[in-house]
């Protein structure tokens, strides 16, 4: 009983020990904050990585692709049974995107993905990231009139609302040029006429060769071209669109700061613009095919790797252009089959089952899960978290030595009391229990306060970041670097438990030695101690 009473009394009266426990508090709070933020980042990153990737992908490297996707799909469904939520076929290709901006031509490397717009949404969250609200419901590769993410001022105008005036303007520019060319031609003909008349008058009938071949052919150029165009009914950009393409937002825009230092996206491409995409056909050797597409939407998965390389087009268009459709059966080949599992299903087990179904030695297909695709990155983050935890626990260990020193001081200070207690009949074990119990109490109080502080910090982390920004004048999270408008956090109860228990354990360990010393104290010497 006296142990409990004295522990509690010491806790209340020895403020120096509470000061030593502050280091434990800080350590615990830091561990909780760091772990929560790291977990938040990891989860958000995984979500984004997973965002437009399906759970499993069955892929071939062959140029021609998988010729009978239907057969594969049936085998997959038969093997995985009702764990499958959705299956879709896609064609992915390395490609080159070319567009005009400010009169200059720009080229960029992209991953061109041909998707089935009806089933693709069933395997990935892709549609969730589209800018146009209607496309989020059901993706269509037709350009909308307007309504592309109205909250993004920089993107407006977009859609037909943007395409029509642009087309009219271009047409007007062409008209002006044509009128100019026609006037030139007229003048030239008049000039010719005059020369002819003059020659007739002079009697020299033969015209000069230069005027006949060189000048005429040059001046006749524009008129020839215009006549040709008129014959094959020109593409009217004002009312027509090319095949739709959905680009990653990073392809069509850059994020930067405007003159007021506000973070803005600057769009050099908008829904309604036309782009040229060059990709290999399915022949051997492959040749580049050049196709024009009209941007019908952007997507923003906030995973910059995806946002700056992936472009989605209708699968039929790709199959048709590349010559992947079997002329006899009319079945289009695909390069990969994507599978989404039902929630909570074991990803690796499903992958292994498919690998077993399609052994790499027999089939030309490879089965991967999205984790495999992003494996190195996930492993790196995991490693980072582990190392950070080890380092921070070392800080708590340092705090442990602080407690050790303080405890030794307290034991020395309490020498006489230890002697008194022994003279009253307290056993050595009882004395040790007092100081051990004191260590447990201090550890619990320290880590308890640390726990509360850490949780409060995590809860208000964005406000705290704002305050730090205000004080230092520097942004903690630069939104041009991170696609986060706020710091993501994720509190895992298991982490809280082991951080708290771990630091209590360190406090107890640190109090073991002083307790043993106190217990071993000789009562007579302790009583004599001044």
């Amino acid at each position: 009983m006296y142990k409990l009473l004295l522990c509690l009394r010491y806790l209340r009266t020895r403020w120096i020990a509470l000061a030593s426990i502050v280091s434990v508090t800080l350590g615990v709070a830091t561990l909780i904050v760091v772990n929560s933020v790291m977990d938040g980042f990891t989860i958000q990153m995984q979500e984004r990585m997973h965002g437009i990737l399906s759970d499993l992908v069955l892929e071939t490297r062959s140029t021609m692709g998988i010729a009978q996707p239907q057969w594969y799909e049936e085998r997959i469904r038969a093997r995985l049974g009702d764990t499958v939520e959705g299956v879709t076929t896609i064609v992915t290709l390395p490609a080159m995107l070319t567009f005009q901006h400010n009169g200059n031509s720009h080229t960029q490397q992209i991953n061109l993905i041909g998707i089935d717009q009806k089933t693709y949404a069933s395997v990935s969250d892709f549609s969730k990231y589209l800018l146009h609200p209607e496309n989020r419901q059901q993706l269509s590769f037709l350009l909308k009139d307007t309504g592309y993410a109205p909250e993004r001022e920089q993107l407006q105008p977009a859609g037909w609302e943007y395409r029509k005036p642009m087309a009219r303007y271009r047409k007007a520019t062409v008209d002006v040029l044509r009128e100019q060319a026609e006037r030139e031609q007229q003048r030239y003909q008049e000039l010719q006429q005059k020369i002819k008349e003059q020659n007739l008058e002079d009697g020299t009938d033969t015209p000069s060769p230069a005027a006949d071949s060189g000048l005429e052919s040059i001046m006749a150029g524009p008129s020839m071209k215009l006549e040709n165009k008129a014959q094959i009914k020109p593409f009217d950009a004002e009312v027509e669109q090319r095949t739709g393409i959905v680009l990653g937002i990073g392809i069509g825009s850059v994020r930067g700061r405007d003159i007021d230092n506000q973070v803005q996206d600057f769009f050099f491409l908008r829904p309604g613009d036309d782009v040229q995409v060059t990709f290999p056909n399915a022949g051997t050797p492959p040749r580049g095919i050049d196709e024009s597409f009209t941007i019908v939407d952007f997507y923003e998965s906030k995973m910059s790797e995806y946002d700056s390389t992936f472009a989605f087009v209708p699968i039929e268009k790709l199959q048709h252009s590349r010559g992947m459709i079997n002329p006899q059966t009319g079945i289009g080949a695909v390069t990969s089959i994507q599978i989404k599992l039902k929630k909570g299903m074991d990803l690796n087990a499903a992958r292994d089952a498919l690998r077993d179904e399609f052994p790499p030695s027999h089939e030309l297909v490879e089965v991967r899960s999205w984790r495999d695709t992003q494996g190195p990155l996930l492993a790196a983050v995991q490693m980072e978290t582990t190392i950070l935890n080890i380092l921070l626990f070392m800080i708590i260990a340092v705090a442990g030595f602080g407690i050790l020193a303080t405890f030794f001081m307290i034991v020395v200070e309490k020498t006489r009391d230890i002697g008194v207690l022994k003279s009253l009949g307290a056993s050595s074990r009882g004395i040790a229990t007092i100081f051990l119990g004191y260590g447990v109490l201090l550890g619990s109080v320290g880590s308890g306060v640390g726990l509360i502080c850490g949780l409060l910090f995590v809860w208000k982390i964005n406000d705290i970041a704002k305050i730090i920004e205000w004080i230092t004048g520097r942004e903690v999270f630069d939104p041009t670097v991170y696609y986060f408008d706020s710091i993501p956090t994720m509190i895992q109860p298991f982490m809280l438990v082991w951080v708290t228990l771990g630091s209590i354990a360190i406090a107890i360990l640190a109090s073991v030695l002083p307790s043993i010393r106190a217990a071993r104290m000789h009562p007579v010497e302790a009583l004599r101690y001044e």
Binding site: L4, L6, V420, L421, K422, G425, S427
Partner: protein, 284 residues
């Protein structure tokens, strides 16, 4: 070299002390040979024979007790008297089982206690013994009541303590009232005067109803009047409760009021009749 000087020093001190003793009391006879005590467990509550004890300091052992025989009669007050360094506190510590003698035996109520295992000696101290000290040795974090309760808490676990809280507290209050501190129950030791602290210590020593009280210079740190009142308190406890008291003191007048006196000189004992001291009491 420095080592040897430090080892010699204690011997030198002792020699000097012995010399000064002779100078101050030239009329004293040479130390009489130690009287052999013939212990009688019916008469003597605690007795010891042939106790030797030496302390090790820097590899040299300094003998403090050199074969001491001692007995304290039941229900009597026995004073241990002697100069500083004569070993009287050491003897008291040995009697209180706070330390073990190098040789010799200590018996309490007919049972040998110096050779008991540590646990049993702890229990013996807790249940049979009360101790008070010159510097009171109260626990500064606890109130008067809690200080008095401490031995009861030590003897009982948390649950049995809570179960018996009422009787224990009642007896603590009884003792506190008895020593005259009923109005100071919830004060901290630092708020008390020296006499009050010693009274608290006495109440604490008595809470477990011990049969013997060991007092190490209980009045040594108090003024004459307070010391006298403490002494009266101890005498009344002896008289009313039959408490056996062994008291270490260097105050001859205090010793004089006791039932018997044991004089320690240079680690040996010399039993004098109470009245025999009277001649020397004035010189102290």
């Amino acid at each position: 070299m420095s080592n040897s000087t430090t080892t010699i020093k204690p011997h030198f001190d002792l020699a000097k002390r012995a010399a000064s003793y002779r100078v101050v009391h030239p009329e004293d006879p040479a130390p009489a040979p130690t009287l052999r005590v013939h212990p009688d467990s019916a008469r003597d509550l605690i007795y010891a024979c042939g106790l030797t004890k030496s302390y090790r300091r820097h590899k040299t052992s300094v003998p403090v007790l050199k074969g001491v025989d001692f007995a304290a009669e039941r229900g009597k007050i026995t004073a241990i008297i002697g100069q500083s360094g004569s070993g009287k506190s050491t003897l008291l510590h040995l009697l209180g089982t706070l330390d073990r003698p190098d040789s010799g035996e200590i018996h309490f109520a007919g049972q040998r206690i110096d050779s008991l295992p540590v646990r049993q000696r702890d229990r013996f101290r807790n249940e049979q013994l009360g101790m008070i000290f010159q510097f009171y040795h109260l626990l500064p974090e606890l109130t008067v009541l809690e200080n008095v309760l401490a031995p009861a808490m030590i003897s009982k676990g948390v649950f049995s303590y809570w179960r018996n809280l009422r009787p224990i507290q009642a007896s603590a209050k009884k003792w506190i009232d008895l020593v005259g501190l009923g109005h100071r129950m919830n004060h901290r030791p630092c708020e008390l005067s020296g006499g009050e602290m010693q009274r608290t210590a006495i109440a604490r020593a008595l809470i477990n109803d011990p049969s013997i009280l060991l007092a190490d210079e209980p009045t040594g740190n108090l003024d004459q009047e307070t010391g006298a009142s403490i002494l009266r308190l101890l005498q009344s406890l002896n008289r009313d409760h039959g408490l056996t008291i062994v008291m270490v003191t260097h105050d001859e007048s205090v010793a004089q009021s006791c039932d018997s006196i044991v004089r320690l000189t240079g680690g040996k004992v010399e039993r004098l009749p109470t009245l025999g001291i009277a001649a020397n009491s004035g010189t102290n």
